[in-house]
């Protein structure tokens, strides 16, 4: 059970990355390679607020969200909007992410920093397995976020509009929807959420500048398993990746965990390119 908790909480981290990818993908068909780096910045801001400045938790969360939202807004303006084709956006968002990694290293150094979380420091026992409060927090956050996003997309006008855009953006324009503005808003919201996510993942992964690359790739695997554009799919995909990684590390050795995730990625891409829950296949041309 302890192993499963570890897998699920690690998987929740990947699911959170996949949620970020999906929001941007649904709103603008772009792929934001810098998503994981946004979360990394969130974790660092949480560390600074919490440890360096000693601010109360709620202020820390708000601070991380606002800061990362601003960073995401800049990202959209400099790396996404001026670039027409999605393939080049991959390069420019990777570039932006690399800049963030570099800046994080300059500001916070390259040593991993331990980000504290609310509640008890000790692990608790639940259904015969042991887990930390931040692990439970991660799992709950990922599930709640997916549910909230699902409701938002069905209840709110802007949510309906974003789903409509993802189906036919020209038809959406003809209904008076400002597609560009909403796509920008989606980026800002991704940043907002990434700030929140950073606060939650920090205790699990530590705040470390090199967090981005591995997280970006595993988050993509979660996305590929779940299917592009499917929030539930990304959640399930994240959990699958987390569980596989923890089990492979436990039974085969830590050097096999990435390898098993890679094998799953290849298998899913070859056998079911639309993912388990996906309707929209990535464009192949």
């Amino acid at each position: 059970m302890t192993l499963i908790y570890a897998g699920l909480s690690l998987g929740a981290v990947y699911a959170l990355v996949a949620i970020g990818y999906n929001i941007v993908f649904v709103a603008s068909r772009s792929f934001n390679f810098a998503q994981a780096q946004l979360m990394m910045i969130g974790a660092f801001v949480a560390y600074t607020g919490h440890v360096t400045l000693g601010l109360p938790a709620i202020v820390v969360v708000a601070l991380a969200m606002v800061v990362v939202m601003l960073v995401a807004a800049i990202l959209e303006r400099v790396a996404v909007r001026p670039v027409a084709d999605h393939q080049t956006q991959l390069i420019t968002t990777l570039g932006f992410g690399t800049v963030l990694t570099g800046l994080a290293q300059l500001i916070w150094g390259s040593q991993p920093l331990d980000v504290p979380f609310f509640g008890a420091k000790e692990a608790m026992t639940l259904f015969g397995g042991r887990l930390y409060s931040f692990e439970l927090g991660l799992i709950v956050l990922s599930v709640v976020l997916v549910a909230v996003i699902h409701l938002y997309n069905r209840r709110m006008m802007s949510g309906l509009a974003i789903v409509a855009m993802s189906q036919d953006d020209e038809a959406a324009v003809l209904r008076g929807i400002n597609v560009r503005k909403l796509a920008f808003a989606a980026f800002a919201i991704t940043g907002l959420l990434a700030g929140l996510m950073g606060f939650f993942i920090g205790p699990k992964t530590f705040a470390v500048a090199t967090l981005g690359s591995a997280l970006a790739l595993k988050g993509f695997v979660a996305l590929a398993i779940g299917g592009f554009g499917s929030f539930y799919g990304g959640l399930v995909g994240g959990f699958v990746v987390g569980l596989v990684e923890e089990h492979a590390a436990r039974y085969l050795g830590s050097e096999f965990s990435n390898l098993s995730v890679f094998l799953i990625l290849i298998l899913v891409l070859m056998l079911r390119p639309t993912g388990l829950f996906g309707q929209t296949q990535e464009r192949t041309v």
Partner: protein, 615 residues
Amino acid sequence: MTTVNWWKTLRAVPSWVYPATLGVFLLVLPALQPGYSVTRQVELTLILALIVSGLNLSLGYAGQLAIGQVAMYAAGAYTAGIIAVAGVTDILVQLLAAGLAALVVGIVTGIPGLRLGSWSLAMTSFFLVLLVPDIVSIFEEHTGGQLGLSGIPGATLLGFELTPTHFYLTVVTVTILWFAAFRNIIASRHGIAFQVLKQSPVLASSVGMSVFRVKLSGYATGAIPAGLAGALFANLDLFVSLEAFGFHVATGALAASILGGSVSVYGAVLGAAVVEYASSQSDSFQEYSLVFFGLFLLIGGVLMSGGVAGVARTFVARLDRAAGLAGRGPSKAGDGEAIHRIEGGLLDATGVSKAFGGNQVLTDVSLRAEPGRVTALIGPNGSGKTTLLNLVCGYYRRDAGEITLDGTPIRTAATHRIARLGVARTFQTPLIPPGITVRDVVASGRYTVEGTSFAGAILRTPRFRAIQRRDRQRADEMLRLVGLEDVADTEAATLPLGMRRMLEVARALVAEPKVLLLDEAASGLDEGEVETLAGVIRRIRDAGCTIILVEHNFGLVLSLADEIVVLARGSVLASGTPSDIANDPRVRDEYLGASDADVRPDDSVTEPAARQETP
């Protein structure tokens, strides 16, 4: 004026002289006794340049987001190191083994890309970089694991031990040879084929290229230089450690490629020099290096899509224009130009049916197009014209019916094979790859005529040269036919629409097809251009080619066609001579919705695939 004259003199020098001069300079550099740090800097730069050139090939030219070159670099380095420890110290053997190892890694990881789109390939290839440390520790006893692979004996060449200076010369020589090979590949059909594929796989298969093979050769040729770089790196310090193969290096290589210009040969050296120089600077700079790499990627991606090499090209073009070296404007289609006899083929489609999901788009359609005749295919929106065209080209699998060319059955779902049988086409939206000249666009149509190998292209064999000469000759003939000979050296994608349409006709015709399919070739053209096009089509017909014309312009169809087939709601409504069709009241009623129209089955007129057709 002096600047202009000076520029003219400079441009009169063949362009290969400049890189050759750099190569010679690097070869004689040891004679100047530059000191260890300089030669080492050059060695590291050239090793990086090799990796970057691989990126330029696969990413820049072939447009495949295979960005895991660092993993292939690692494969090459460990392969060379391991066989050296095992006693194989000959540098040639090591280069060969390392190149092969990288090739295997490149092809295996390219496999997902054969089926999938850009992101998946980018992610799987980048994931490889993440796997390098794991794989190295799994084979710890051979690779040295985290501690690194040490104890590599010095390299030898044919039994002679290499001194540091010898090794330096080896690095320079390998790099020069590879770049010469790279340049020769790019300036050949294969290089053009990469760019055609990058523009559109549909276009590539329509001129007879196997998308599968071109992609695979892109991954393969992109992997080899990374493997060579690995072998050189292993012998540079006689020590291989994991630090050399991290994301930091992968990002640096990508940054160098974007900075130097991905779609360029020598931009790789330039980009590598900048990145390597920056990385070698004091520690304070190293701290900033990621920020700079990121900025290179960002700015390179946003501002100068061609990198430094692209900026240089624009500058050269501007100076050329100032110096009056650029080509003149277009001329009229050459009326008197003799056109070779073309052996047309009889295209016979019988009982063809096709449904998308539940929508029956074509029902029992038959069409016969004869050599030396223009067969026009007309019909209202959604009547199935384009679907029929795409069935002939093999883009869709037909549900029933037979299509034969001169009696040979055309099988489905192998577009490039059908193209090789002699079926050429133009597109509703002209597909012209950017960055290549008008003449090369036309020559790309001859990809399947007289095959040339990569080796032939690299070594410039007499056979290759002869074929290349014929490519040029035939391309120029076609350009004269359509009146574009004066713009032969212009970048094709910058031409106005009317010329791009003519260019597509020339490209389709250069392989001397049996059947030429023209898909709305006149749409968007003004009256003068339509007239020119009609003249060209008539002369192609008179030369013996079988022409199938899908067209909305009634006047053009009536004046040009020998036979008209009218499609309506997926079946043939009428067929006959232009005057038959013009006087057939059913045709007009079909277009304009007569009051006593048959009941249309709901939704039958929508073609779900139609929206994807114009890439």
